[in-house]
Symmetry: C2
Subunit: 328 residues, 2 copies
Amino acid sequence: MKIAILGFGSVGRGIARIVAERETGLVITAVADSKSGCIDNNGLNPLEVIRAKEETGLCGKKGVTPEYIIKNADYDALVEVTPTNAETGEPSLGFIKLALSTGKHVVTSNKGPVALNYDELSHIAREKEVQFKYEATVCGAIPIIQTLQYGLAGNKVKKLYGVFNGTCNYILTRMADERLTYKQALLEARELGYAEADPKYDVEGIDAAIKLVILANTIFGMKKRLEDVEITGICSLTSEAIELAEADELTIRLIGEIDNERGTLRVSPRVIPKDHTLVVQDTLNAVTIETDLAGEVTLIGRGAGSIETASAIISDLSFISNCHDRSS
Amino acid sequence: MKIAILGFGSVGRGIARIVAERETGLVITAVADSKSGCIDNNGLNPLEVIRAKEETGLCGKKGVTPEYIIKNADYDALVEVTPTNAETGEPSLGFIKLALSTGKHVVTSNKGPVALNYDELSHIAREKEVQFKYEATVCGAIPIIQTLQYGLAGNKVKKLYGVFNGTCNYILTRMADERLTYKQALLEARELGYAEADPKYDVEGIDAAIKLVILANTIFGMKKRLEDVEITGICSLTSEAIELAEADELTIRLIGEIDNERGTLRVSPRVIPKDHTLVVQDTLNAVTIETDLAGEVTLIGRGAGSIETASAIISDLSFISNCHDRSS
């Protein structure tokens, strides 16, 4: 299966490296970053494109734009991993629409377009009989979307809850284990690169809430927006609160929950037993899916990181490729 | 997608009930048990077939055999859930071969044919361009096969280990929690229906070992047989051993492990920290997959039970159906 990659930062290059080094059955025919692009319909040498990008800052010729590639390159699936504004979903949204409309499969790691425009995008995909996939947008390398769409197909999901933000989980783990204050733990998370300079998006629970919106709209057919999520972050948690919990063999985790029967979405710090399955350490994510047939299924793994994101993208491509090969 | 069901015990009826009560996109055109069968190429009424079976012990007319259905009914996928001898794989093996050879997809819950004859069966499936799926054979409702085949595609799996047998896990949980002896805990497991009258298959580690053989041969391309697995069961574990472990915040679990780098398979009781992710309670199963890109991914859920098995079968059918719809 031929793929075109838009966005050649650490995720895009990670994907190219995997294609170069492993038997994925994938061929890269086009790559674009924000300033340049390259096309070879017989297949680019991924390692050469990576080297060009790392040496010159450009992956190809100036003037070869994402739009040009979407319209003119020979590919089956677009890998859309551009740096994108989470609030507007652009430029990702425009690229995805254009590619789907021209009858190409699309795989993205960008939360914005999925959280904001899933209905429209999946409508175009259905009309054009192509796939629109977004495993990388929720819980990094954990195949949560695939598990919900296929692994637990036929089940009614009653509730889904868990740890969706690794930065908050790291801070809470450190506050409990080392008796750090919130500020000390946040500082440490920043130094280790787990938190942004402006950590608002993570610590106020917005990132976890967006992931809930994605699951609610794409899996459970809800029509939620970020404003519909009841959100409490971890910023005002005191070390005393955590110490109090720990004294009773309890601890605190930032839990996101979709109640599929009530149709409600919530993100809040909750006190849970220390031996609970969802009490994962450091930056891990963990999600429990409560179903009627399969009972509870829990998935635990790394929720972020560029190589983990690349892993999720390859997983989506592999899924499409399996169907693609069968239908072509 | 049209399906034919062979075997109409609790799993077969569970599948029929799900098809009757939910929007699965599946139509049942044929059903057979060991003594009878029925066919309606326009779609049977699943609830009527279930009622007939439960009232008369027969699902249809005598003389309508599985072989007749495989050859003559109009269906896309065969659901093979017959009672089958795990050592010979029959009658399941013959049914699966026949269906694949006539160009039908096959989904099975029977471990025997998958553990013993995967190479041959997958070869026929590839030749006929149909799918052969077996999610239900390992860890019940946990989508472990799908996660390995698609969710973590592109990853190199270094190791895979976990709790593959719910009966043993129940016995070990009870020995630790209630200070029961092995014999007392086994008796309790029997009374609750978690252990067979002859518990050998579970407590000697054979069931866990067969699951490892299935994963080794179908996912990792090994050529293993049951004899290749180094097996130690839990029968000779003393309460003293468990008490000793518990005193140090440790406990004992029966762990199955595939070392994909060394090519070795092992099932044995192991001492692990009580707060380890794999220390699940009661009859739960838990598996950790160690990969190079996604890191460690752990799945926890119910490893047995007829409705859980039905859930896994529906998951496989849904996967095939998604591809089937796209290619037809």
